[in-house]
């Protein structure tokens, strides 16, 4: 995926804001769906095993919450996510900076990295699981890889697209290399780097779900989902989906909030 395409993806990750007026219309569809669902469940219009009543899902949610299971599963997932995200982001920053700042290194590593990122990350799971064993190590490795790729790509790109015009200003005023990197290249690359980190956050969350799914069991929110599927509990499945979606949404929202803060802090907007 090219950087431009990735940026486009980011644009789709931060969902378009619906217009402010007529907000109520957004609720028509969900409410209708829930009503229909309740009716179908009530009158057993469809296979009842598949169709649990909305109340059942709420009850399950309450039960998961009350027994602390939700918290245990979620905290395990989030802890993993945080670890993998941190490692991957840090590694990505270093690698991306090297690729961006050091042309020799770029020629040496760049093409291999480019090829590597074409392989669907999930295809690595069996290998990762053999190489890094069970448990959280393999999962964290997997998450780190998921987070690493966008950070590397965007950091490198951000650095390499530092406007030539600004670099010339640095030359005119006799900036040293260190000054040029820290005072021109990095500030200029910051938005791109942030894009990378933002994507890393989202990707590593998706990878968290994937890792719990495809790597050996343990605690985690995806395991709740699998448990629901295995024990055939649609209520649990739906509950898991809502939680996973909710966490994704929360991450998106906080990243966007942070981005706005960052923009304000950097004092620029155009």
């Amino acid at each position: 995926m090219s950087v431009a395409t990735e940026r486009a993806e980011l644009a789709t990750l931060a969902p378009l804001k619906p217009q402010a007026t007529g907000r109520w219309r957004g609720f028509v569809l969900p409410v209708a769906a829930i009503v229909l669902w309740s009716l179908a469940a009530r009158f057993e219009l469809v296979n009842s095993a598949l169709l649990v009543a909305p109340g059942k899902v709420l009850a399950t949610a309450w039960e998961q919450l009350e027994t602390g299971r939700l918290w245990r599963a979620l905290s395990a997932s989030l802890a993993r996510e945080a670890t993998g995200f941190l490692i991957g982001t840090l590694g990505g920053l270093v690698l991306g900076a090297l690729l961006g700042l050091w042309p020799f290194f770029n020629r040496l590593i760049g093409p291999s990295f480019n090829t590597f990122k074409q392989i669907s990350l999930f295809a690595w799971i069996p290998l990762i699981s053999v190489w890094f064993g069970l448990g959280d190590v393999a999962k964290v490795v997997f998450l780190s890889l998921a987070a690493l790729v966008p950070v590397v790509v965007n950091t490198c790109d951000g650095i390499r697209t530092t406007p030539k015009a600004l670099l010339e200003v640095a030359r005119v005023y006799g900036f040293t290399r260190w000054q040029t990197v820290t005072q021109v290249v990095l500030p200029s690359a910051l938005p791109a780097i942030f894009t990378g980190v933002y994507l890393a956050l989202i990707y590593s969350w998706l990878a968290t779900i994937g890792a719990e799914y495809l790597l050996v069991a343990g605690k985690g929110i995806a395991n709740t989902l699998i448990e629901g599927s295995e024990h055939f509990r649609m209520d649990l499945v739906l509950f898991g989906m809502v939680v996973i979606g909710g966490v994704g949404w929360a991450m998106n929202a906080s990243a966007r909030w942070l981005e706005r803060r960052l923009a304000r802090w950097l004092g620029r907007s155009s």
């Binding site: 431009a4 015009a165 600004l166 010339e168 200003v169 030359r171 005119v172 005023y173 006799g174 900036f175 040293t176 000054q179 005072q183 021109v184 500030p187 200029s188 910051l190 950097l266 004092g267 620029r268 907007s269 155009s270």
Partner: protein, 278 residues
Amino acid sequence: MNAVAAAENELRIRALGKRYASTQAAGGELQVLDNIDLHVPAGRFVSIVGASGCGKSTLLRLVLGLEDQYEGRITLGGQPIAGTGPERGIVFQDHRLFPWLNVEQNIAVGLRNAPLTPAEKRERVAEHVALVGLQGFEQSFPHQISGGMAQRVAIARGLVNRPRVLLLDEPFGALDALTRARLQNELQRIWQAERITMLLVTHDVEEAVFLANQVVVMQPHPGRIRRIVDVDLPHPRHRSDPRFIALRDDVLADFLEPGVLGAEQPPAPDPSSWRLAW
């Protein structure tokens, strides 16, 4: 600058030539500048006019030291120039302020590596904020100020470390006519106050004549000096002064003569820039 320094600060350009590698040009090279000779005594104001592509910016870049491969000699006070240096400042056409720095900080960029104490730097910056009339906007970021104000910040940045030569590459090109007139007056005032050597590139003949002691008219393919016109009108000048208008029309006539101004040409298509900017 004091009078003693005047002689040693003169800028001399001799037999200057510059070629760029170009896949479109015959022979794979484009002769952008050819045999340029120019002598600018210290404290002079020289305007350079010429059609698009005749190498005006390239000439400034060479004097500034941003390009290192050329033929001929460029000396400042007898010393050949080598790379960029604090004695030569520039104001770019597109202001080139750092978007992440505020007005004050952007001006301070000009003093980044000057041998001054932080307090001295602060003082100098404050002085120059005042010089370009931006008091009250010290904390504003480039996107928060208008184009004319940004251009004034760029001028302040170019001046703040007191270069012996200030190069100005179409500094008012992007501004509307009124702001432009205002900044021209301001530049004139600064020049009169500071007596820095100034080299101003412009498309606008009136502007060139209005500001300069000398107008250098260039012609393209390859870029050469066609003519040098002395402007010995006293300051302050008036745009409706008949002598001013005569001089302006003289240069303009030269300029509008077929052959000097290359036929309007479509820019080389550059689909890559279009693709993303679209």
